[in-house]
């Protein structure tokens, strides 16, 4: 809270800094709010506090040396980012991937998506003042982290995929653990519905709050659950199926109004759909190799460029790589979904109550380090 009062005409406008160290911004985000009494008249997100230069780092190292960076941009969906990067490089270098590795990647990615949504679920309700769901969600998330730890050796920064496969094979124990998790979640969805989704207080808190109209979403390039909450069934897994997503039967949940409640419901149902995908992938998990033999240690793809989009937990994410034939990319650009999802707040926040700002900010599920990267 600095810069106390500005006088604009006859109006008294009060400037308030939300962040950069606000507990509900999940990362270092600062939003400059201009207030008129209890109402927000202007919102101006300031980004860049967590800039580490990941894109530049990518251009200064070999392709495989960028693998650890991928899980550090969006630390909640590290597996998805890791997956997307190997997809891009494989496309660039024309590497084939064994079927088994594809299935393992899909299972790991979907588990990661659930863990990311669960964390959002917990922290969003914490932002709104409910502590209990947070503890339950973290308990469930812990199961996923254990499963992913068992295959990759790390809880968040996986660095698990390799060009042409994955670094470790999965065993029966992994399959059992995953099955047990799916079974456990069936009962938990019911609990969560009783505890949160059906809760009248929660519904009143989020219904018609922070409506993102379809037009606005298009203007700002909003993707992911936030766009689907407006009623558009756009999901990269369906529109441009990568890996083996075209073989699975799953729905794309959509909302209708684009308010915070719709966004909540869409994410909630997405977790259930991810469970369905995992179930099918486990069913059809083929035997065989997990790595393509003869991928050179020092990979130098032919000259050219590649753009690969994938669906991370927050929306359409993409890698754009340009190769000049050397062992490292000439240009490495990453399209992150949170950037559009954050900037739409420029137009969504004005006119709302300052008390709703947190309810809106939380509902779009931002991860700031991926914007700053």
């Amino acid at each position: 809270m600095d810069e106390l009062e500005k006088i604009e005409g006859n109006e008294r406008v009060y400037s308030l800094n939300l962040g950069p160290q606000h507990p509900s911004t999940h990362g270092v985000l600062r939003i400059l709010l201009d207030l008129d009494g209890e109402y927000i008249v202007k919102a101006d997100p300031v980004i860049g506090y967590g800039h580490r230069g990941h894109e530049k780092m990518g251009e200064n190292r070999q392709y495989k040396q960028f693998l650890p960076n991928t899980s550090r941009m969006d630390y909640l969906s590290g597996m998805l980012y890791n997956h997307g990067f190997v997809l891009a490089v494989e496309k660039l270098a024309g590497i084939k991937v064994p079927e088994r590795a594809k299935y393992i990647r899909v299972i790991a990615s979907e588990l990661n998506r659930i863990s990311s949504h669960l964390l959002w679920f917990g922290t969003y309700l914490l932002d709104l003042g409910g502590i209990t769901p947070f503890l339950y969600a973290f308990d469930d998330r812990e199961q996923i982290l254990d499963i992913l730890d068992a295959i990759s050796g790390s809880r968040l920064t996986y660095s698990y995929c390799r060009f042409g496969g994955v670094s470790r094979d999965v065993d029966m124990k992994f399959i059992e653990m995953t099955r047990a998790f799916l079974k456990r979640m069936e009962a938990r969805w019911v609990d969560y519905e009783d505890l949160v989704t059906k809760n009248v207080i929660f519904i009143h808190r989020t219904r018609d709050v922070g409506v993102i109209s379809l037009e606005l979403a298009r203007q700002y390039g909003v993707t992911g659950p936030n766009l689907r909450a407006c009623g558009v069934a756009f999901d990269v897994r369906r529109s441009e199926p990568y890996e083996v997503y075209d073989r699975f039967d799953f729905e794309i949940p959509t909302g209708s109004k684009g308010d915070a409640l719709d966004r909540y419901v869409v994410r909630f149902r997405e977790m259930q759909q991810s469970c369905r995908i995992i179930d099918q992938a486990l069913e059809h998990l083929p035997e065989g190799e997990i790595m393509t033999p003869k991928v050179p240690q020092k990979l130098s793809p032919p000259k050219g460029e590649v753009y690969t989009a994938f669906e991370s937990a927050r929306g359409l994410t993409a890698y754009y790589l340009v190769s000049d034939g050397s062992p490292g990319p000439y240009r490495c650009h990453i399209r992150v979904p949170s950037f559009g999802n954050l900037n739409v707040l420029n137009d969504v926040l004005p006119g709302t109550l300052v008390a709703d700002a947190i309810a809106i900010l939380g509902s779009v599920d931002l991860v700031i380090p991926e914007i700053d990267r």
Binding site: Q62, D149, A150, S159, S167, H204, Q297
Partner: protein
């Protein structure tokens, strides 16, 4: 009227939520009292790297090819070797890692031609200065060999 109905409905859904919490009261605890109780590490756990001890020679197999040093994205590894024998590879004289910068990516473990690197199972690491994060793997290896021998001896006495 709607106002009171809202309050009533809100109260009802609160009670329903309480029901979920009440059911949870009778489930086993999920937390662990950490320093007193520990969870087993996963078999894939990636700690900082260390040199493997091979049974037949009782030591590592590093040939000082510097592949690990060159492939490390963060410049963590410093390997030094000397040419002691006329023929054959150099002998390792120092292997130091700066763990504060390691991203645990595993590239060094994968690239080593003699597979002499592995992940340790160390996770209780504390350091107060930067120097504390520097780990001398050769010294660590010597310590481990000593411990192994001591263990063998005690076992021999017991048998």
């Amino acid at each position: 009227m709607g106002y009171f109905k809202d309050i009533f409905n809100g109260g009802l859904s609160l009670i329903e939520g309480m029901g979920v919490t009440a059911r949870r009261l009778f489930r086993p605890l999920v937390t662990v009292q950490y320093p007193r109780k520990k969870i087993p590490l996963s078999s894939a756990y990636r700690g900082h790297i260390e040199l493997k001890i091979f049974g037949e020679s009782g030591t590592h197999k590093c040939i000082v090819c510097l592949n690990c040093e060159k492939t490390c994205p963060s410049g963590v590894i410093r390997v030094q070797g000397e040419k002691l024998k006329e023929k054959g590879p150099k002998t390792l004289t120092s292997y130091v890692i700066d763990f504060s910068r390691c991203s645990l990516c595993g590239l060094c473990v994968e690239i080593c031609p003699t597979s002499t690197l592995k992940y340790s199972r160390e996770y209780e690491l504390v350091g107060e200065t930067w120097a504390d994060c520097k780990i001398d793997l050769l010294a660590r290896l010597a310590r481990q060999v000593e411990e192994m021998e001591a263990e063998k001896k005690t076992q021999g006495i017991a048998a």
